[in-house]
């Protein structure tokens, strides 16, 4: 299986503060890669670098086959992004949001129209096509936001704590959507606070103080640390942290 993300010795410094400290890892095509770490561990900074939002101080990385230093424009065309902080424009209708983001990624008008109908059908949102996003329940918004993030069929989708504040049932449904996307060959790079969700990933990495302290499948990790679940593994590793939470 080919590697869609290759990271080698990536470091990001802000003055004297080393946010990301010499990390290296690979992510395979279609993999669901969990990127865990406490607040301030550096996972957001690392993710921003991979998305082309921020330049590394040193080290290299390829995302979707493109160099993060020189080919950010190409990377941007090939990735999708969703964060808990923002899910779609509240004052735009469902179809307007889909059309806007699809248009940004250069999709053709009739392709957008066709795919919109299919998508709304799959989600069971046919009646909500003309609803303003702010009138949808939170769980629906998150599901729709994820669908929009992968609407242009990216190679990789970055999910920044996508299920924050969502009820367990919706979270379950949300993860089914993630599995579907992965089945279709979309690589999923996800950060989360919920340790039970980490169990759903193919592999997880755990960051502490800017370094990757563990990286393996959930099963392996539990065996390695002799732990019941990922939460315990995480706690064991997080104890090492000398950084204060920001």
């Amino acid at each position: 299986m080919e590697d869609v993300i290759v990271v080698r010795d990536l470091t990001k410094r802000f003055g004297h503060f080393v946010a990301v400290d010499n990390i290296s890892f690979n992510v395979k095509k279609g993999e669901i890669f969990g990127f865990l770490g406490a607040n301030g561990a550096g996972k957001t900074t690392a993710m921003r670098i991979l998305c082309g939002l921020s330049r590394p101080t040193s080290g290299e990385a390829m995302v979707g086959g493109f160099d993060i230093r020189h080919e950010t424009e190409k990377i941007k065309k090939n990735i999708g992004y969703m964060s808990q902080k923002f899910s779609l424009y509240q004052d735009l209708k469902v179809w307007e949001n889909i059309k806007l983001f699809a248009g940004i990624y250069g999709m053709k008008k009739n392709e957008i129209a066709l795919k919109t109908d299919i998508l709304l059908n799959e989600l069971g949102f046919e009646k909500e096509k003309d609803t303003l996003v702010k009138d949808l329940p939170l769980g629906w918004k998150q599901k729709l936001a994820f669908s929009v993030a992968i609407f242009h069929n990216p190679k990789i989708v970055f999910l920044d704590e996508p299920t924050g504040g969502v009820d367990p049932i919706t979270r379950r449904q949300f993860w089914e959507m993630i599995y579907d996307a992965s089945q279709k060959g979309i690589t999923v790079f996800v950060t989360t606070h919920y340790m039970d969700e980490a169990e759903y990933c193919d592999r997880v990495s755990i960051m502490v103080d800017g370094r990757i302290e563990a990286l393996s499948s959930p099963k392996e990790l539990k065996r390695e640390f002799n732990a019941e679940n990922i939460d315990e593994v995480f706690r064991l590793l997080a104890k090492k942290s000398t950084r204060k939470e920001i």
Binding site: C51, K77, S83, F86, E96, L100, G103, I104, Y105
Partner: protein
Amino acid sequence: MKQFLSFAKKEFLHIFRDTWTMMIILVLPVIMMLLFGYAVTTEIRDTNIGILDNSGDEISNRLIDKLDESEYFSVVKVFKSNSEIEKAFRKSEISLSIIIENDFSKKLINQANPKIQMIADASDPNHAKTLVNYASGVIAQSLMQESKANSPLSQINTEIKLLYNPLMKSSYNFVPGVMGFIIIIVCAMMTSISIVRERERGSMELLLVSPVKPITIILSKVTPYFFLSIINILTIFLVSYFVMGVPINGSLFWIFLLCIVYILVSLSLGILVSTIAKTQLVALIISAIILLMPSMLLSGMMFDISSMPLILQAIAQIMPAKWFISAIRKLMIMGVDVRFVLNEFLVLFSMGVVLILISLKKYKNRLE
């Protein structure tokens, strides 16, 4: 281009779907015009005055009648002594008191320069000054007529000619001011808030991760406000021309071009504020305190710049509104040729260029 259009469309939708934004854009200019036109007028109308006539002769009587007849004053008190005057001021019964010295007509006929004393309530100094000016005008006019009737007593003929605004209408002054003010609100304040809003809500991140160029995002955010400002300008012109009767003496082309240059300067101010402010509240405060207040107070819209302390005069020079208002006054009210406002054009233009350069630099730094 396609991206730009779909973005600009989205921005229009944001505006159209927000009641408050629509209110500010459509209703505020009209409200401000009416407010300044009818409520906050600096014109004098039927102000209560008192008279102490120590002379009580024919000419002084006619003078008092003239004052009372004029649309500016109405004589509500006739005093018998100085002490009564103070009492009337304290009770706020009058804003101005006129004292005519004894043997007024005799002195006038003998060319002995009779004296008229005016006492004004200067707790509002500007108002007091205006009252005194108006009263002097009425008195001068009245005495001139007297002198025509009795030719020997003619002395100095003061003839005042008020250029460009013969009726001293304050609307001539505030229409350019309101324009300058509204454009700052719509372009600088609302634009900066709307850009910062995207950053605050996290959508800016999503846009930056997408293939859209940052410059496209900014331009498309600014576009709707550009068009809305033009609508505002047109509204203000229509209201001022048809409702307030303010003339448009100069060339429409240059007036319009001036407005567009000013709109562009204000938009770049808005972009600059958005690169500084981290939250919508900060954007609002910065635009209100650093842009709006000085635009209102120091631009010459309300107070004359040349009579301000030096430091404020200096600050006034860097307010785009000051240059816009000065130019639009000349073009619209005085109807002068464009070469007399080249200076203003040049200043506004350079301000725009500098502001855009600074914000572009700031914007790039943020991305790193």
